[in-house]
């Protein structure tokens, strides 16, 4: 049901039945290694191109999520997935393997929550009984497209972020047995915000206003206070974006505490890993939510969380043509039933 200007409330509380994540060697050395279902010690992952490895990551996350609840891909009515590569080929090619009716999404790094919001909406209104949604990114494949060759010795500024090699997938169902399971209760769809920043090595700074806009709209639409949530977690704002968003939220009068406000891009790596301002990429929020965060919810650490995935909607062409970076953020509220 539409609530407020841009939010949905899911009265039937779609269940996140199972979730899984896969990651690469750099994530295996990170903070959340224990929460990944599959970790690779090689970036190629037994494939002959990084793009194939990228697709492989998503397939593994999906298969792993299905196996956990003994479901097969034939049980899935729809699959919603996306990534950062041109024409989202890794996701579409994974959908070819899966043979599940498929929606290809592009919301840059906000794809994970765009997918979860739409999957919940479809399930909530009996458009499907079971859906699977996911997002992924592969450091080498994404850097190749957006930046320089991976082995090129260019110096990255301290504002830059490290693209996560990882995928996350979740099975969203209309299962009436919701006890002890995480359910999605509402979602806020963001609008595109552009504050005129044009430095592709400072995505956090560009995305912060979009994140703040969506979070403010969420609380306004649902007419709740930030204290409703145990945790408000952003997708990949990194150090600069997170600080900036925090200040913007306080300026708007939202009373969010520092501990309550975290970022997947800062959770995933250790402090001594050379990632400059933190992790980024479509797989960042997906692998952290569909691994660490939902595991924590299951353990009872958090009861209600708001996940806000942020995306920078630029292309290598648009920034070479000196265009600024338009950004977006989508939020989904997840609660333990």
């Amino acid at each position: 049901m539409l609530i407020g200007r841009q939010s949905w409330q899911f009265a039937n509380r779609p269940v996140i039945e199972s979730w899984a994540s896969s990651g690469g060697p750099f994530e295996a050395e990170g903070n959340l290694a224990a929460d990944f279902d599959i970790l690779h010690d090689d970036l190629w992952m037994g494939q002959d191109s990084y793009e194939k490895a990228h697709r492989h990551l998503l397939e593994e996350a999906i298969n792993s999520a299905l196996q956990k609840v003994n479901l097969s891909k034939e049980d899935m009515h729809f699959m919603l997935a996306g990534d950062l590569i041109n024409q989202i080929t890794p996701s579409s090619f994974a959908a070819r393997t899966m043979q599940i009716p498929y929606f290809g999404l592009f919301g840059a790094c906000s794809t994970s929550m765009e997918g979860l919001a739409l999957a919940s909406f479809i399930v909530n209104y009996q458009g499907a009984k079971k859906t699977i949604t996911g997002a992924s990114s592969h450091n080498s494949a994404v850097e190749k497209q957006f930046r320089y060759p991976t082995e090129y010795g260019g110096q990255k500024p301290p504002t830059a972020q490290w693209t996560v090699t990882g995928a996350g997938a979740a099975v969203v169902t209309d299962n009436p047995d919701k006890s002890g399971k995480p359910v999605t209760t509402s979602a806020t769809i963001g609008k595109v915000v552009d504050m005129g920043l044009s430095d592709p090595f400072n995505m956090g700074g560009a995305m912060a206003p979009a994140a703040a806009d969506t979070i403010i709209s969420h609380f306004k639409d649902l007419n709740i206070e930030p204290s409703y949530y145990d945790l408000i977690v952003t997708g990949d704002l990194g150090r600069i974006g997170q600080e900036t968003t925090y200040e913007l939220l306080h300026q708007s009068g939202l009373n969010i505490t520092r501990n309550q406000f975290q970022d997947c891009g800062l959770l995933i790596y250790k402090d001594d890993q050379p990632v400059q301002s933190g992790g980024s990429g479509a797989g960042c929020s997906a692998s952290v939510l569909y691994g660490h965060l939902l595991n924590q919810m299951k353990k009872g650490v958090y009861n209600r969380i708001l996940v806000v995935a942020t995306g920078a909607l630029l292309s290598p062409l648009s920034f070479q043509q000196k265009e600024s970076i338009p950004c977006i953020a989508h939020a989904v509220s997840i609660e333990m039933n």
């Binding site: 082995e151 200040e247 301002s277």
Partner: protein
Amino acid sequence: MGDKKKQKLTPEQQQYQQLEQKHELKRPVVKNCIKAFLVGGTICLIGQAITYFYIYFFNFTEQTAGNPTVATMIFISMLLTGFGIYDHIGQFAGAGSAVPVTGFGNSVISAAIEHRTEGFVLGVGGNMFKLAGTVILFGVFSAFIVALVKTLLTMMGVL
């Protein structure tokens, strides 16, 4: 950011960018310069040692030792790029490892490695010079302009 660019921004955008600037991490310029000086200097020192090596052990003179030295430096750069070391040196040294000929080698070789999966013709051949090509183009063009100026000055009897 230039004033011209700033004028195009709305007041809201300007206000936000001021706020964002407070949180932005700045490049440590002085530290980067020192690191670039030291690493760049070390690379040149190695180059100089190789030049002497060719002069003392082979029949090269100071004028002719340049070519084999450059070839050797690029070969070393190629190995370091291929083994995934040069990008780490680059992150530490910045311009120190980008400006010498090894940096030029790295930009060609990294692009060649990157596009190997698209085949030899369209992948390696088509992309090898995507970073270095611009250096070659404007290098040759500036050399042409300098040569033209010198020729004209010589013809006019100034030089």
